[in-house]
Symmetry: C2
Subunit: 309 residues, 2 copies
């Protein structure tokens, strides 16, 4: 990770010799290349860092002229790196391809193939203009404002805050402490959903508005007690809890009882789906929730999430 | 967008005839396919919705068996959709390819080519296991906790809150109201950075801790006054501001003076880079900030963001 590495600059030289490098080059932000490479690297989990086959990725964003591009490709050649790129201008993409070929560097055009396939599907040529170059102010679109509003709503409705406006949320998450409600809410909000999250704490009444809203938008989160205890112990340590507070929060009996308390609430509200979060990454739980959310909304025969562009 | 569409189900049938469909199929969350397709569609801005050539995307996630896969591909054939997929199991990917070929559907394998290129670069075969299947509990990794901590830190340090712990932030954003500090902070936090944001309000002193922290981690945000006024007018309306409050907040004179006030603060702190956000999407501003942040940290000759996997 970036930070791990930063804290570690002195050791860095030692690893360079053994780690393989992947250069990612974009005329835009580089996030598409990063996302794709990161997913693809999921296929090599069995050999990455812990198993002694580390990979270093290097992201070069905003590369909008041939000179910078060539300098990066030369550097890749020196380091024995492979190159992946997303370049909207066809002549830039062609230059990248040719230069890599010339210097014997393995290279992959990440978006070229999809862009071509879409072009022929639509019967329209791609603009060839990198992001930002078209002068189209995406930053003032309705979609843009809607997302910002969703993020702001979600921050304000974190951790049970403002229960009086729960009805304004698109999605409400309920679960005991450390089931990932906050990061999950934030992740969903960035996709444009207004999310509120409500903590379930043993012996504490839930806000009555939670039972007045459309139950189809409430999702319960549950987790394996042993995993939850591990997470809570780490949490209590990092917050510096001590004595009484710490022990009850992460004590196995307490953890089990609190999960049981949550389970009873969920079973009293059978419309709420209960989502198992154990071992899932935030984006994985988000995918499960949005799949259910859209299926309920659209009730179409084949579960899907649809968008208009 | 999802929500636009939801509010609009009655009209939806009307559009189906003219809109072209893209089916996205994943054995995981589908976010990689969605991200790639969305970037590729950026190349067709000149013909999307507003210009009368709408595209509907349909995301099918968690598709982990051949039966579901075939049902989706058949449906794509009926709708005249194209299909893009990310399927880790090589036999699933091959089935998708063959079925599309058989039914004359254009199809693109989004991650296959990068995965193969990485495999030959590393000299290691891909696992062929979809996300989640490997049983590796990514949810308990250090990286995972670090990101969650970053998101929670960032929420707590929104809008000038907790100025006494500004020194704990990795990145501090300062700017007048509606320069995008909050969504930008959240976006960066999800990449693992602890971000605090501090509002600049004319006539209000900034927290003195802002001038005590390492100035290399502070970023000023600036924006074109006319664009800012437009955004503030929309904001004032949506918040229901009226009379005095509304007029001073979005009055052109006030907007200009407040930006000038910010400009003076920035010029008194010349180490802070000043980032122009006009017309930029959040992820674009984030890319600019992280590029500067990493260049300053690493001071390497070629600007890049590096990560270890
Ligand atoms: N809205 C957009 N308009 C035009 N091109 C885009 C857009 N979004 C992304 N791209 C292009 O898609 C590729 C990936 O973008 P990025 O994720 O910003 O690196 C780059 O070549 C960008 O120029
Ligand atoms: N951590 C991971 N381990 C294994 N495969 C992954 C991982 N992350 C993503 N993938 C695969 O990459 C593709 C895209 O993932 P997703 O973005 O979840 O749809 C799917 O085929 C996933 O199975
Ligand atoms: Mg929380
Ligand atoms: Mg704000």
């Amino acid at each position: 990770s970036e930070h791990g590495q930063e804290g570690n600059d002195d050791d860095y030289g030692v690893y360079v010799a053994t780690a393989k490098s992947i250069y990612m080059v974009s005329d835009g932000t580089g996030w598409t290349a990063e996302h794709s490479v990161s997913a693809a690297l999921g296929q090599f989990d069995h050999c990455l860092v812990d198993r002694g086959c580390p990979v270093n990725t290097h992201l070069f964003s905003g590369i909008d002229d041939a000179e910078k591009l060539m300098a990066i490709i030369k550097q890749a050649a020196k380091e024995g790196a492979m190159v992946v790129y997303t370049l909207a201008d066809p002549s830039m993409a062609e230059s990248a391809k040719q230069a890599c070929k010339l210097w014997g560097i393995p290279s992959t055009d990440i978006l070229g193939p999809i862009t071509e396939a879409i072009a022929s599907h639509l019967g329209v040529s791609p603009s060839g203009l990198p992001r930002g170059a078209s002068g189209r102010s995406s930053a003032l679109s309705e979609e843009y404002f809607r997302r910002i509003e969703a993020v702001e709503f979600t921050i304000k409705h974190d951790d049970g805050a403002l229960p009086q406006s729960l009805h304004k949320a698109n999605i409400i998450l309920a679960g005991v402490s450390r089931t990932g409600k906050t990061p999950l809410s934030i992740y969903l909000s960035q996709k444009g959903y207004k999310v509120a999250n409500v903590p379930i704490v043993m012996g504490v009444d839930l806000p009555k508005t939670l039972f007045e809203v459309d139950p189809e938008k409430v999702f319960g989160l549950t987790i394996n007690p042993i995993v939850l205890q591990t997470i809570r112990k780490a949490r209590a340590k990092s917050l510096g809890f001590s004595g009484e507070a710490r022990s009850s929060y992460s004590e196995m009996d307490y953890v089990r009882q609190e999960l049981e308390f949550a389970r009873r609430i969920f079973s009293q509200n059978p419309v709420w789906p209960v989502i198992e979060v154990t071992g899932k990454a935030i984006e994985e739980t988000a995918a499960v929730i949005l799949r259910l959310y859209h299926d309920r909304k659209h009730k179409c025969t084949m579960p899907r999430i649809s968008k208009r562009y």
